[in-house]
């Protein structure tokens, strides 16, 4: 929390997204609210199809054709909902940047990496070709691309996955954005590279005082890299709070299940990996009530009646569950394992 502005940098209120899928309209996101202050880091965790990426794309204004948005997204107090495409283009890459999951496909194979890094600098900052090239080399150097000055003229296929992800990071950071959205930035990389890339992102975020939203399905990645976290399930936030607080006292049965399902070192041989029974509900036919009801061990009939409201169980720690009294009776988190 380095900034002292009263208005949070990003404020999302009651965000709802309806997508047109091949199986009919689907409520991909419902009642998602959060805020992100200057210099703050926020993690978004959940399994595939829970709405993490849709939330990120909604912030970027990049939802697919036919998506309907409700609620409000404000950047520095300015409403982004209903902003014209041309105005949105001025924000993207300039004030909000995004790093994608797949570095193998996120770069245009036809252009040199130098050109791709210099692009946003020329467009948003109006730099000359020579100045942008110089800046691009400096950026590539900063993200740890070896021999940056020599390799600016190379094409993406001449780099490894880790190097390509460094290049996409350089592109995302070129214009010193206020917010960086990293959508599973290390999922496609080798385990050995994952740590390096996450460290690099963390360093850059701290160095430039940016805010970051880190999306991951990996609890470990979230625990190590962000101050605050949100757990998403079935298109809504089921638990949110300071990372330490959430990891110490998990409130939602889903978060607890996710935590128990992680593989552990030092477990006795033959110990079976715990899983959460059942499967993720289809977004096209989400139940009216709690989306986790079908898989929850402590479900009651009132859980299925309506989407539970989020209750505060600690300072800034909110859980969207009606039965926190039962689920939190015995603390589940890093302390108990």
């Amino acid at each position: 929390m380095s900034g002292s502005a009263n208005v949070p940098l990003i404020e999302v209120e009651n965000l709802g997204v309806r997508l047109n899928t091949s199986r009919g309209p689907a409520q991909a996101i419902r009642e998602v609210s959060f805020s992100l202050g200057r210099g703050e880091t926020l993690g978004l965790v959940g399994e595939s199809g829970c709405g993490k990426s849709v939330t990120a794309l909604a912030l970027m204004g990049l939802l697919p054709e036919g998506a309907t948005l409700t609620g409000s997204i404000r950047l520095d107090g300015r409403e982004l909902m209903g902003l014209s495409e041309a105005d949105y283009c001025k924000l993207r890459g300039n004030r909000i940047s995004m790093i994608f999951q797949e570095p193998m496909t996120a770069l245009n194979p036809m252009h040199t990496i130098g050109r791709q890094v210099a692009e946003p600098l020329r467009r948003h900052k109006g730099l000359s070709a020579a100045a942008a090239r110089k800046e691009a080399i400096a950026l590539l150097d900063r993200v740890g691309l070896p021999d940056a000055a020599k390799r600016v003229g190379a094409y993406p296929h001449q780099f490894s996955g880790g190097q390509r992800q460094r290049i996409t990071i350089a592109i995302a950071l070129a214009c010193e954005p206020d917010v960086l959205i990293a959508d599973e930035p290390t999922t496609a990389l080798d385990v050995t590279i994952q740590g390096q890339i996450l460290d690099l992102i963390a360093d850059l975020v701290a160095e430039r005082g940016m805010s970051m939203m880190l999306i991951s399905h990996d609890l470990g990645v979230i625990a190590e890299n962000v101050r605050r976290m949100m757990v998403m399930y079935g298109g809504t936030v089921v638990e949110s709070g300071a990372t330490e607080e959430v990891f110490t006292r998990m409130g939602h049965p889903y978060t607890q299940g996710l935590f128990r399902a992680r593989p552990r070192l030092g477990a006795r041989k033959g110990t079976r990996l715990k899983t959460i029974a059942g499967t993720v509900p289809e977004l096209a036919d989400l139940p009216a009530g709690c989306a986790f009801a079908e898989r929850c061990a402590i479900v009651e009939s009132r859980c299925r009646a309506a989407l539970p409201i989020a209750v505060a169980v600690g300072t800034g720690h909110r859980v969207r569950c009606l039965r926190t009294d039962v689920s939190m009776a015995r603390p589940i988190g890093i302390l108990d394992s």
Binding site: M60, L62, E85, S97, M98, P120, H157
Partner: protein
């Protein structure tokens, strides 16, 4: 390096190789039989057309009734037609018309078709629907039919036939362009480009077009062959190139009445048309294979 390319079946990578052809590309090209034969035949037609601009054995326009229907001789290598014109000269000059018609007609189709296709892919929605239904509508009329309609309105001639063939090419290019462009739009680097603040126009020019170039080149080669065939057909029907301008289609038409007297008169232009069309088709096939490493086994 080439093994790595072969393993990577990524069309844009191939398109990139087209822009910066490496040694491997040409080595592969020279070993590709249909590419070599195709380019040789196409080059032959091109050379004939170029040669006709500076030299022909006889003038292709001079009528010499006294020397009509001569068999091949030292003076007239392939003989003369019913007006006493030298067949070799007619074939050379005819190649010029053929290539001119091909280039302009494909140019019309390529320019309009690619623009419309790119717009359709970039805008989607009702604009895409409108463009695609309009090209379906155009596609419903064969080139010959639209040329007859056009000739009825503005009179027959080379311009009429070129325009008709060109219009007929547009929907084909619209479809090919839209299909490939849609595939590129769905790729992540386009989303990344959106995320870095690029508008639809910039993305189309910088990301989509370069990545579908190889597809368009192959299609243009095939369309060139089809345009030559269409031109020959129209000239044969008397709607294309008008006399005295020589054209292979016209030569066929002239030969038709003399089929029993001197059948060779029909064979020469027929062979010329077949050479050009075959050459371009082989060239197109070859290019398609060379741009696609999945098909790069030698034939």
């Amino acid at each position: 390096m080439s093994a790595q390319f072969a393993a990577q079946a990524d069309p844009p990578v191939i398109a990139e190789r087209l822009r910066r052809p490496e040694k491997g590309f040409w080595r592969r090209a020279l070993r590709h039989r249909s590419f070599v034969v195709g380019s040789a035949l196409s080059l032959l037609v091109l050379l004939a057309a170029s040669l006709s601009m500076v030299w022909t054995p006889w003038s292709a326009y001079d009528i010499d009734i006294a020397a009509k229907l001569q068999p091949p001789s030292e003076a007239h290598w392939l003989g003369t037609d019913s007006f006493g014109r030298d067949i070799v000269s007619l074939l050379l000059v005819g190649a010029r018309s053929t290539i001119l018609v091909g280039i302009i007609a494909v140019g019309i189709g390529l320019t309009f078709g690619v623009c419309l296709g790119l717009i359709a892919a970039a805008r989607r929605g009702w604009i895409e629907e409108l463009i695609m239904r309009m090209s379906d509508f155009t596609f419903a009329f064969p080139a010959v039919l639209s040329a007859i309609m056009l000739a009825a309105v503005v009179g027959p001639g080379m311009v009429t036939s070129i325009t008709a063939i060109g219009i007929f090419q547009i929907p084909i290019f619209v479809r090919v362009t839209r299909g490939s462009a849609n595939a590129i739009w769905a790729r992540e680097f386009v989303l990344a480009a959106c995320a870095s603040g690029k508008g639809a126009l910039r993305i189309t020019i910088e990301h989509v077009l370069p990545n579908i170039l190889s597809v368009l080149i192959v299609q243009a080669t095939i369309q060139f062959a089809l345009a030559i065939l269409a031109e020959a057909a129209l000239s044969y029907l008397g709607l294309g190139t008008q006399p005295p301008q020589p054209s292979w289609g016209r030569m066929l038409n002239d030969a038709q009445t003399l089929l029993f007297q001197s059948p060779l008169l029909a064979v020469y232009p027929g062979l010329a048309i077949a050479t050009a069309v075959l050459g371009l088709n082989l060239l197109g096939d070859g290019l398609r294979d060379l741009f696609d490493p999945r098909l790069s086994r030698e034939r």
